[in-house]
């Protein structure tokens, strides 16, 4: 395994270096909140969940072993915590997706907001985000976790398997089934029918 600077920070924190823990939070805190927002839509609740994750990290530092990358350890805590939150039933599947844009034309993903989005681009981006969130909310929890880790966090299948405590073939299946669901749910965004 290539040297992991985050693992070094975590080991320093295990030795009592609080500055090392703060460095880890400042490096990963916001990304952890973004991850949590894939499970709970409310930004305030997502921030609380991210705080919970780092509090667990702070209080359970002795359990960290540098045999795996630090991010694998962090994602495992975050995934379990978010899935527990979803299981509490507070976040139910949204109503059926509203197909197409408001004017009925297929929406071009290339027209989605860039760094200087027009109001129209921003509105389309928000609409796509709502559809993605609705699609995620309807996935079974295993598929949702694997899909978020693969599609939005960019983890390789091997690391997803470590995070979820499963096998690579299982991750392949989870990611594929979720991607098929996504293809059907988001088909109107590419102007094509649902072929998958």
């Amino acid at each position: 395994m290539a040297p992991d600077p985050d693992a070094a920070l975590m080991l320093a924190f295990q030795g009592g270096d609080e500055a090392a823990f703060r460095a880890l939070f400042e490096k990963h805190g916001r990304a952890t909140m973004a991850f949590c927002q894939r499970f709970v839509k409310d930004p305030a609740r997502a921030e609380e969940l991210a705080q919970d994750v780092f509090l667990k990290l702070h209080q359970g530092a002795d359990r960290y072993r540098p045999s795996a990358r630090f991010t694998t350890f962090l994602y495992r805590i975050a995934t379990n915590h978010c899935l527990n939150e979803v299981r509490r039933g507070e976040y139910r599947a949204r109503p059926e997706l509203d197909p197409g844009s408001e004017d009925g034309a297929p929406l071009d993903p290339d027209a989605l907001p860039g760094p200087a989005a027009t109001p129209e681009e921003e509105a389309r981006g928000n609409a796509l985000s709502r559809d993605v969130d609705a699609m995620l909310a309807r996935l079974p929890e295993g598929q949702r976790a694997a899909f978020v880790l693969a599609r939005f966090e960019g983890l390789p299948y091997e690391e997803i398997a470590l995070v979820l405590g499963t096998t690579v073939p299982s991750v392949k299946s989870l990611v594929h089934r979720a991607t098929v669901t996504a293809a059907r749910a988001l088909a109107h965004w590419s102007g094509k029918g649902a072929d998958a």
Binding site: G16, E18, F25, L55, Q59, S173, V175, T179, S190, D195
Partner: protein, 161 residues
């Protein structure tokens, strides 16, 4: 759809994600060359991945994100004993001159102050801790921060008695 087609269907996302290698990849690509339905499914999955890649990220947190966490951490995380408290509790603390220990105990034990405030108090009574070597040799130095305290006690604050 045949069993072989279903099998290839299950591999299409892995193919698009670049995780298929060697013979597995070759077999799937060979199948796709002769199977229009599987090619259509692959293309639909590829379009979905493109749409997802174009989706905006979640909105950033409100200003003060880090400060709110540190405030919650201060409220909820167990407080670690300060360097002086660990020194005062050490069984070999007799190695430290008595007057220095008295000052350390008075300043360290029970003090619910920030680490910086405690360090400044020590700095005002530096000459009471005569042997920094003895202090440093006791196994109470647990972090780079503690080493810094020992090495730079005479630089903290400005007031000397």
């Amino acid at each position: 759809m045949s069993r072989a087609d279903r099998h290839v269907s299950e591999e299409l996302t892995a193919l698009l994600d670049g995780v298929l290698e060697g013979d597995a990849r070759t077999a799937v690509e060979a199948h796709l060359a002769g199977c229009a339905p599987c090619r259509a499914e692959r293309d639909a999955l590829a379009r979905a991945l493109a749409v997802l890649a174009a989706a905006p990220p979640p909105p950033p947190p409100a200003a003060g994100f880090e400060q709110r966490f540190y405030a919650r951490l201060a409220r909820e995380a167990p407080r670690r004993a300060s360097f002086l408290e660990r020194l005062a509790a050490h069984p070999l603390r007799w190695l430290v001159p008595a007057t220095g220990l008295a000052a350390a105990l008075a300043l360290g034990i029970g003090a619910r102050r920030t680490g910086e405030q405690a360090d400044l108090e020590v700095a005002r009574h530096l000459d009471l801790l005569e042997s920094y070597v003895e202090v440093a040799s006791l196994d109470v130095v647990e972090s780079a921060e503690d080493v810094d305290v020992v090495a730079h006690l005479d630089e903290l604050g400005g007031a000397r008695p």
